[in-house]
């Protein structure tokens, strides 16, 4: 077994070449020569975490406006040029990052670098573009509000975090989206978009040297300015929180949240293994006991959301027809509590390790996908090297670690329980 583990770890090691330009821009290159394609990604160290009250959603607004023209290229021209080159492009905002990416043929990937360097320096954020785009973003927010679960999760974040910026929705509150001005967005752009606050990832059919020279060519002349990020700590929760959320749904749902640890904390991996044992796959405990065994739920999924400044362990379950939420909650909590008193089995632990190993290898299938992981680890998880370190630590998780983290973090006093209920149910 040990030999297999060592062998598999060797196979899965993600080899990244790291370069830093004089202006502070970090370049991470991942070579994958399976197909003649390259993914170019620019990850900025800014997201909803950085946003003050009253300005929620501003990072996301900027992300939208970043396609609306620069001093050199007109509105939409970025999309046009990439698509004409047969590429696909998009962007997204998360709690700690804003990411722009383009995947395209190897002989034209420099086009994406050229456009991204321009975007980093020359955005216009013109008022006549700002107004209609803000309407688009408001429609995007309405779309989420109409989704049966999105606004429920938004409520869960707002209640489970009391003061931490993670309580704010990434897309922002509607009132803030309406309030933020073009000038606010411009100041946000000038503050956060510069080489020293960004990481460029180039993944695919390219060598490190080639990528380095290309990135230096386009980004080398830009001036960098490091931005200090203030760590924010959620105060310890002092007792269970509960809420009901009424919505026009027929099927209720249940969410149970517990605060966990920063991404670099030593208990992270034990919590991940615990999550896998509870809900990963059709042979997991929740699937066998709650979904299939007792027929209580359509699904009972665990998400251990790994954040830079404090994670979140969430169980989300939708009951089968006729099952009430309190019975489902009782069964889920019983399943969690059992981890505090009875050790997991050897087979469960080995399965979780094997799932982690396999998953790490599967994720190397797509150059764009592994590039995204590298960027995530670099910005949100203490550096890309932790990507490889993480798997080794997963392999070292033992049964008593799982019991200990269950006892430490999955407590009633650290828990928020939410019921999504049909409006008419009083």
């Amino acid at each position: 077994m040990l030999n297999i583990v060592i062998l598999m770890i060797c196979i899965q090691q993600v080899e990244v070449q790291e370069f830093t330009l004089d202006n502070g821009l970090k370049l991470l290159v991942y070579e994958d020569h399976f197909a003649p394609v390259i993914s170019v990604q620019v990850h900025y160290r800014v997201g909803s975490y950085n946003e003050p009250v009253g300005m929620t959603g501003i990072s996301h607004i900027l992300e939208h406006m970043a396609f609306k023209g620069t001093k050199r290229y007109g509105p939409g021209e970025y999309n046009l040029l990439i698509e004409e080159a047969g590429g696909i492009e998009n962007a997204f905002t998360s709690v700690n990052r804003t990411v722009y990416f383009a995947n395209l043929g190897k002989d034209r990937y420099e086009l994406a670098l050229k456009l991204e360097a321009d975007r980093m320096l020359n955005l216009l954020l013109a008022e006549d573009q700002f107004m209609p785009e803000r309407q688009v973003i408001m429609e995007e927010r309405r779309l989420r509000e109409n989704d049966p679960y999105s606004s429920f999760f938004e409520q869960l974040d707002m209640i489970s975090y009391s003061i931490h910026p993670y309580r704010h929705p990434i897309i922002g509150f509607m009132a803030d989206i309406e309030r933020v001005t073009r000038d606010d967005v411009y100041r946000w752009y000038r503050k956060y978009y510069n080489p020293a606050n960004a990481v460029v990832v180039v993944a695919g059919d390219v060598t490190g040297d080639e990528a380095y020279h290309a990135v230096r060519k386009y980004f080398g002349s830009l001036r960098g300015k490091e931005i200090e990020e203030i760590p924010f700590e959620e105060p310890p929760q002092r007792g269970e929180k509960r809420f009901e959320y009424k919505k026009n749904v027929q099927t209720p749902a249940l969410a149970i949240q517990n605060h966990t640890v920063d991404i670099v904390h030593e208990d992270l991996c034990a919590l991940d293994v615990l999550s896998m044992i509870l809900s990963q796959g059709l042979s997991s405990r929740f699937e066998l006991n709650i979904v299939r065994g007792q027929g209580l739920a359509i699904n009972a999924d665990v998400y251990h959301l790994k954040y830079k400044y404090g994670g979140s362990f969430i169980v989300f379950a939708v009951p089968q027809t006729g099952v009430n939420l309190s019975d489902l909650e009782t069964a889920i909590l019983k399943g969690i509590d059992s981890l505090k008193t009875v050790e997991v089995t050897d087979a469960e632990l080995e399965k979780a390790r094997n799932q982690s190993l396999a998953s790490a290898i599967y994720q190397q299938d797509s150059p764009a996908g592994i590039g995204m992981r590298i960027g995530w680890w670099e910005i949100e998880a203490g550096g890309w090297r932790n990507l490889n370190q993480y798997l080794e630590e997963i392999m070292n998780v033992e049964k008593d670690d799982i019991m200990r983290v269950a006892q430490t973090y999955l407590t009633k006093g650290n828990r928020t329980v939410g019921y999504l209920l049909p409006e008419e149910e009083e």
Partner: protein, 438 residues
């Protein structure tokens, strides 16, 4: 038969070989060997999808698909899940309109296990009665939960509106009423009539050696007997002779709009021209619909068009979600965009569409999983093993006349179906010529 994909365009995968073999009992096996990572992707497709659901038993094919993993003569449902997941593998079932099947992924060291499980699940499901009841209950609960999601509701109801009595009118999952009445014997009979080796194809992509894989497949599937199949193919779908509209009431802040009609099925010779035309119309951020609805008017976050195609029919849909009071303007904008591509497409847009698809093509198979999906598409659509090889040339030959002809043939801005989910009334949609139906 094999084809070597050479360096004919700048972006094909140099040296990639797609091979197609047929086992003794008729199973078609498509393989692509690659050795970048020690992983194998698998797809198993049986032509037994929801389009073959008997009338009144909609959702049966989907239940049969789920039951493939719910117990065999050798393994219980739990043992199947435990076997594959213990090694970090994945094995799941699916049901689409044309096919039911399994998808899988393992590390290459576990190929033997994957093939063993695959053959066991495909050839020996036992349709255990308690598992059958459980799957039905889970499915009914899922259908009820889907009724809360306006996306799901709008897509389901649009299909019903466009296809009317045709077999494609229902989603593969069926409805809660039809699923509730399904009997175990229905599933057994359906399985017995359609699950045969000569109605099945397999796709393997990744880190294996083809000859030894074929030998193993022959050994594992050798006892699965070939059987003559009688396909009761669905009748042709019938087009409306007028524009019809339907509003599905839902208390939400937006109108979920789907506008479209019947469209081409698999195998139409003008599909590539149609695909490029739709790129200009609504399949990119440079498309007419995206620019007119989103970029210029700020009406919506989601605005696009697509063709849903199957063996026995197809449809066209343009989709927008917007504020209730902008719904009429959104509908008019979609119709304007459709008319534009029928009358006013220019050479610049044709060139852009050609350039996009030629350059984009390698991205459609730049990983094992994407390659497996592409090979599956090639086989199920009958595109031919030279598809990858000839794609760029075929795209280059599409011209303005062909695209305009496709737009005039397959877009019907004067005779369409309009489905809106939301808190609206017909009088909120000030668009002429719509006959509203319940």
């Amino acid at each position: 038969m094999k084809i070597l994909i050479l360096f004919l365009t700048p972006f094909v995968l140099l040296g990639t070989i797609v091979e197609r073999d047929t086992l003794d009992n008729g199973i078609v096996v498509l393989t692509v060997e690659a050795h970048k990572i020690p992983v194998i992707e698998m797809r198993a497709f049986v032509r037994a999808g929801s389009v073959y659901d008997p009338a009144g038993k909609e959702g049966l094919a989907n239940i049969v698909g789920s039951m493939l993993l719910r117990g065999t003569a050798r393994r219980s449902a739990s043992e199947i899940a435990e076997s594959i997941e213990a090694v970090g593998g994945v094995l799941s079932s699916f049901c689409r309109e044309d096919h039911v099947g399994l998808t899988g992924k393992v590390l290459s060291k576990d190929l033997t296990l994957l093939v063993d499980l695959l053959s066991d699940c495909l050839c020996n499901p036992v349709f255990d009665s308690s598992e059958f009841a459980r799957v039905k209950r889970e499915t009914v609960s899922e259908i009820k939960a889907m009724a809360d999601d306006p996306f799901e509701v709008s897509n389901r109801e649009f299909r019903r509106l466009v296809f009317r009595d045709h077999k494609l009118a229902h989603m593969p999952v069926g409805s809660d009423t039809t699923v509730r009445i399904l009997a175990r014997s229905d599933a057994q009979e359906y399985y017995a009539s359609r699950f045969t080796p000569n109605n099945t194809f397999l796709v393997f992509v990744g880190d294996f050696e083809k000859d030894s894989l074929l030998a193993r497949l022959n050994a594992e599937f050798g006892n699965w007997p070939r059987k003559e199949l009688v396909f009761d193919e669905p009748a042709e779908s019938v087009e409306y002779e007028k524009t019809v509209g339907r509003i599905v009431p839902m208390n939400i802040s937006q109108a979920y709009i789907l506008l479209g009609h019947l469209g081409p099925r698999y195998g139409t010779p003008d599909w590539l021209a149609t695909r490029l035309m739709n790129y200009v119309l609504g399949a990119s951020s440079m498309s007419r619909i995206y620019r007119m609805v989103r970029s210029e008017k700020g009406l919506a976050y989601v605005a696009y068009s697509y063709f849903g195609r199957y063996q026995n029919g197809g449809y066209f849909a343009a989709e927008v979600q917007t504020k209730k009071d902008m719904a009429a303007e959104a509908v008019i904008t979609l119709l304007d965009a459709m008319r534009f591509v029928q009358d006013s497409m220019g050479i610049a847009e044709i060139i852009r569409a050609r350039n996009f698809y030629t350059g984009y093509f390698p991205l459609t198979h730049d990983s094992y999983s994407e390659m497996a999906n592409l090979v599956t598409q090639i086989e199920s659509e009958g595109l031919g093993l030279d598809y990858i090889d000839r794609f760029a040339d075929d795209v280059a030959q599409v011209n303005l006349e062909q695209m305009t002809e496709a737009a005039r043939k397959y877009l019907k801005p004067d005779r369409y179906c309009l489905l809106i989910v939301g808190d609206l009334e017909p009088e909120d949609i000030a668009v002429e010529g719509i006959e509203w139906i319940e």
